[in-house]
Symmetry: C2
Subunit: 123 residues, 2 copies
Amino acid sequence: MDWQLSEERPIFQQLYEEMCRRILTGRYPPGSRMPSVRELAAEAGVNPNTMQRALQQLDGAGLTESTRADGRTVTADETLTRRLRQELAGGAARRFFCETAALGFSRAEAKELILREEDGHHE
Amino acid sequence: MDWQLSEERPIFQQLYEEMCRRILTGRYPPGSRMPSVRELAAEAGVNPNTMQRALQQLDGAGLTESTRADGRTVTADETLTRRLRQELAGGAARRFFCETAALGFSRAEAKELILREEDGHHE
DNA sequence: TTTGCTGTATTAGTACAATAATACAATAAC
DNA sequence: GTTATTGTATTATTGTACTAATACAGCAAA
């Protein structure tokens, strides 16, 4: 049900984002071990290298750590994950305001859009 | 001040979006004539071919019409432009909810984010 | 030691965006 | 009619991003 990969953007990037979300939402709990590169690659139906690239970005973000033959573990630092989750959500909000501003909507009008969109989510 | 082109996405696509916004926000008014391909290309600092590709997408969207040697004119159909502007804004809102949902935020929580973000826009 | 699992590095193939240089077509202005 | 300017089409080239195939390296358990 996951891994809805689009052709329009780099796959490794989408993989990174999905893995990121899985960690931040607790699907891969803090301190736990993650599935192996090849395992995840098979699950997502991509080349191991592509998945690896995504995982290395997780390392870079401090969300995971990898040791040579022992596998990869999720950070135990829950402060970090909570903060990052908030930051990503804040970024989404800022992006929304930016996009609507470019279309000539004031912040108040943009806020109205959100309220209206929230009412009817028919799908 | 415009034409903030990023390397991360196709240039012709960004050009299209910017031109689109210029029309929807009235910078190129309904029924008016647009600058020529070469002129716009020079202004944006890109190859004429690249700009042309963007402009042809405008044609495809029904926002502009081009006649051979007479130039390109913005559609006079203000209903279309108003509707498209609303649609784009609605899309931004939906995207916001989608992104926050992927991070485990409920719609109510997402709405809270917007309100809080709206207060402190310190930049 | 051997086997099998980790993560990692290197290489090459493929696709495509962007540019550039032209040439062409059609209309308007003179 | 000539000239200038418009949009359009074509072709080649360059650079680069993405992916895949493959080989390598390190550790653990049998």
